[in-house]
Amino acid sequence: MSVEGLLRLGDNTLVLGQRLSAWCGHAPALEEDIALANIALDLIGQTQLWLGLAAAREGQGRDADTLAFHRDAWDFRNLLLVEQPNRDFGVTMMRQFLFDTWHLAALTALTEHADADISAIAQKAVKEVTYHRERSTDTVIALGDGTEESHNRMQSALDRLWPYVGEMFASDDADLTNMAALRAPFDTHVTATLAEATLVRPDSDFAHMGGKTGVRHSEHLGHMLATMQVLPRSYPDAKW
């Protein structure tokens, strides 16, 4: 079932890449705008690798573009976290920090995968994501330990997104590595960062589920896909 596991990785990077792209031209400062667009670009590039491999393994004549643009919400296997709306810059950066911290741990494990193609993509992506995590960590600290306004927004972002953390570590046979084993390194980095950011980890570890299995996506995914897919679906022969 490596196809399902590959879709999970590729759909995460696709959905988050699309979400971040929406900041292009809207971020609070030019540098932030450029950074978010660059991170989106890395994630879309990784999507091409993961979904390209998924399509090849599936062997049904589809390619990365078919998978990205011609599947409906219930076929997507991304985490609920990445489909959550951008809202304000604080929510976007907190979502990025939580995802980057999981993503780096997952990719690091996948660099050792027995399948050479999977390991190769992970080795490529882990370099980019190391950089992503460094930046989102710095930003969470700067804004958390910033002004009263930025602190409150980051705490509220953390409270809002925390129920989507648990799904990242819910492991099953379709996963390409044991996700549950990534919880400890995730907690270590998050705890240290939140302490420095003067933010408080929510008490409840209640977790929404259903994104990576495709059983129950949030309503937000369909709206996002409608925007992302409208052009290739309306004009199937469109070329850049």
Partner: protein, 155 residues
Amino acid sequence: MVTTRASLDDVWGWLSEVPDPENPVISVVALGIIRDVAWQGDTLQVTVTPTYSGCPATAVINMEIEAALRARGIEHIALKRQIAPPWTTDWLSNAGRAKLEAYDIAPPRAAGGPARCPHCKADTVERISQFGSTPCKAQWRCTTCLEPFDYFKCI
């Protein structure tokens, strides 16, 4: 037209004249993204590795490689993408690093930041942003001459 197979040394030489579209002072060879060149029958196979997985210059680079080789009379060209081992700035040649600095882009360093300002050469530099105008660069500033500059990220 060339009917015999060109020597691989010649091919490497021709590729050394193909500029990186985003940093045109250095060639695709100096950038370290050409991993191999080999004849397979009458087809020349060029193995290229991307710098960043989403780098939009990759498609342009492939077109330029192909155009440069066709201009030398090579008819059958196969470009092979190879992602492992992943590209690292360690593969950037020393000549390439010097050219980058002369072009006002601070070359990558293992220390994670530029050694000095490419404009005035002062070592008083600070980071503006971890990302820059292309995936391979970050934005820094010199606190002596006050000029901002690009730093070629070390990965």
